[in-house]
């Protein structure tokens, strides 16, 4: 994906005599390696191992039970319903996120230099924490004084119970999630558009394609890699989203927005079902990896590059 991938570029290695002692390299990279190993790698292995044991607050012993925890998880109806909700959530985030980022990116790509600050504005949500964003959206979608309902009322429609109705709550959660994660998706696609040779789209215009057609037939296939990247990013953020949903709906109303991640928190932190929570952690890892591979596969199959 990356151009000039630093990990494959050996040409930059120094050849200065006396400056290649491997132990300097080991010493200077060791702290970073160790910290990352402890914080990122170890927990994965730890979770994988723990998920094979029956660890719960009720018993003193924690016997090895193989895939018992996974079987437990899979036999819980609440797992399947939260998986289903996660599916809807992820799909919604990708659909809305891609649509918006493509439309906005096309518009930004045309922006004249005096309006460059709009690009700066577009990145602003990136610096807002998930909790703050959730709060802002909770205010905005308040059914009594919230802006959307004011607009609906102004147009003569009734008030929508945004956060107390399960379906609407899911929509709000999706919108809030897209709002926080759109900047990067937008930058990816904008970056892709900026690499397209103007002559291509001009040629299309001369050939009679309207702007919209040239976008669909020329530009979008050319930026398939960036669209894939944006998809991977949006999907990754949605599958692993916790803060936004927790602070916005807390999984409610009822269980309408109870995603897998919230389920994991409930099992681990509220019910101390360590073994099952760890199994869920591993399932989230695998789901995330599988989805990423899936998008990359799609791109390989249908993409241009």
């Amino acid at each position: 994906m990356a151009e000039g991938d630093p990990s494959t570029d050996m040409a930059s290695a120094t050849r200065i005599v006396g400056w290649q002692h491997p132990w300097i390299a080991y010493l200077s990279s060791a702290p970073a390696m160790i910290i990352v190993a402890v914080v990122l790698a170890f927990p994965v292995l730890f979770a994988a191992v723990q998920s094979l044991y029956d660890i719960s607050p009720l018993s003193q012993e924690s016997p090895f039970i193989g895939f018992g925890n996974y079987i437990d998880v899979f036999s819980e109806p609440s797992f399947w319903s939260s998986l289903w909700r996660t599916g809807i959530f992820v799909f919604g985030v990708i659909a809305l996120g891609l649509t918006l980022s493509i439309i906005f990116a096309f518009a930004l790509n045309r922006v004249v230099s005096g309006l460059r600050f709009i690009r700066g504005l577009a990145i602003l949500p990136y610096i807002v924490s998930s909790v703050a964003a959730a709060l802002m959206f909770r205010t905005m979608f308040n059914s009594e004084f919230g802006f959307p309902n004011q607009v609906l009322e102004f147009m003569g429609f009734g008030a929508v119970p945004w956060l107390s109705n399960g379906v609407y709550a899911m929509i709000v959660v999706i919108i809030a999630q897209v709002w926080t994660d759109l900047p990067l998706a937008l930058l990816f696609i904008l970056g892709g558009l900026q690499t397209i040779d103007d002559q291509l789209t001009e040629a299309a215009l001369v050939d009679g394609a309207t702007g919209l057609r040239s976008a669909i037939y020329i530009s979008i296939p050319l930026i398939a890699p960036q669209i894939t990247l944006a998809t991977v990013w949006l999907s990754f953020k949605a599958v692993t989203s916790l803060g936004t949903v927790l602070a916005l709906t807390g999984g409610g109303p009822g269980e309408a927005t109870q995603l897998l991640t919230l389920e994991m928190v409930r099992l681990g932190f509220d019910e101390y079902e360590t073994g099952t929570a760890m199994a869920l952690v591993i399932i989230i890892f695998v789901l995330n990896a599988a989805l990423t591979l899936f998008y990359l596969g799609l791109q390989r199959k249908f993409g241009t590059k």
Binding site: R15, I16, V17, G18, W19
Partner: protein, 392 residues
């Protein structure tokens, strides 16, 4: 201070490329030695091994009698001017020039004094507070020189320092480098692919080809008596005419037959290339300099001139180049000799020599005219066709 010796130096890169092979030569104290050769022949690699920017794979490099193979560049006490100048972009001219002194722990006062001295030598005083990006190419080049001279190193190393300048500046800087080196008397190893630079700058010139040292000699000697076919073809402009010739006995003397042409070999040439005598009836490489031809104004005896039709004329003002097609087999000086490379090529692949003559413009013939060219009898060159070495 500042003697450099190469002892069987070899460089093999990680990918197996042998860039320099069995290099042996000495740079004397205070000498200006130029390493010249075509691109990719291993010049930079040789220089960088002296600097410690490239490990030495085999043999030894000595500076003042001490093997430096394992020393870091810092421990070698050398200075280098890079082709791209490698000025530190975030430092002013003064800071750039003072950097080596700063690294040597020289006091601030002393540093300022020495930077100023170097700046005045190079006419850089008014630029001291500028950043490299605010300088012209020529100014940058001078700053790079300044950075090299402030620390009074044992050896200067320069890797094509003039190749990023335009032609006029290059000539000017060439003179300046020569002057500086004379004044400072610092041993200098200078790398270039430009033979004019090499010939004008070097006390001695080392010609390299394919990682192998071909000849090391003062410029005049390189021109007068090249050791190998490569040197013969590389030094001189336009290059020497090189072709396959057969030595025959004729009228008590020797003659070189090439294609349908024949020139008698003057005894003075035989004196310079005594082994020619042993090649009677055999093939050799014959070299003739374009500038040794002249239009014959009177009838010359057979074997003292060649007669051919003019193919093309290039007027250069003070002189003209005249091209004459021949049926002699051309020898490519850049091919690798030895291991039978110059065996008889299949007749279909033979490249015929287009003989070049450099003559005074007054006597220039026109295209298609048949001319008779005389040749300075004592400046013929002979080389072994198998090894490419001079026949002496």
């Amino acid at each position: 201070m500042g003697e450099v010796n190469f002892r069987n130096v070899m460089k093999r890169f990680d990918d197996g490329t042998v860039a320099v092979n069995d290099l042996n030569f000495d740079i004397e104290e205070g000498e200006f030695l130029v390493l010249v050769g075509p691109s990719g022949c291993g010049k930079s690699t040789s220089l960088r091994m002296v600097a410690g920017l490239e490990a030495i794979s085999g043999g030894e490099i000595l500076i003042d009698g001490e093997a430096v193979n394992g020393l870091t560049p810092r421990e070698r006490d050398i200075a280098m001017v890079f082709q791209t100048y490698a000025l530190y972009p975030h430092m002013t001219v003064e800071q750039n020039m003072g950097f080596p002194l700063r690294m040597a722990g020289v006091s601030a006062d002393e540093k300022a004094k020495r930077v100023r001295a170097a700046a005045s030598v190079l006419d850089l005083e008014v630029l001291l507070n500028r950043y490299p990006r605010e300088l012209s190419g020529g100014q940058r080049q001078r700053v790079a020189m300044g950075r090299a001279i402030v620390r009074e190193p044992r050896v200067f190393l320069m890797d094509e320092p003039l190749s990023n300048l335009d032609a006029k500046l290059r000539v000017q800087m060439r003179g300046e480098i020569a002057r500086l080196q004379r004044e400072l008397g610092t041993t200098t190893l200078y790398v270039t692919h430009d033979q004019v630079e090499a010939m004008t700058l070097g006390d001695r010139v080392a010609v390299m080809h394919d990682g192998i040292l071909q000849q090391l000699a003062p410029p005049g000697e390189l021109y007068k008596s090249p050791e190998t076919v490569f040197v013969a073809g590389f030094i001189g402009s336009p290059p020497m005419n090189l072709c396959r010739a057969t030595i025959v006995e004729e009228g008590g003397g020797l003659a070189a037959k090439f294609g349908t042409f024949s020139l008698s070999v003057d005894p003075s040439s035989i004196e310079k290339y005594p082994l020619v005598r042993e090649r009677i009836g055999k093939d050799v490489v014959l070299g003739t300099r374009p500038e040794c031809f002249s239009i014959a104004t009177e009838e010359l005896p057979e074997n003292k001139h060649i007669v051919a039709k003019v193919d093309m004329v290039e007027m250069l003002g003070a002189e003209a180049l005249v091209y004459l097609p021949t049926d002699a087999e051309q020898i490519d000086s850049s091919m690798t000799f030895g291991n039978g490379a110059a065996r008889k090529v299949a007749s279909a692949d033979v490249q015929h020599l287009s003989l070049v003559a450099r003559i005074a413009p007054k006597t220039v013939p026109s295209h298609g005219e048949t001319v008779s060219l005389g040749y300075e009898a004592d400046s013929m060159h002979f080389f072994d066709i198998e090894t490419g070495h001079a026949l002496r």
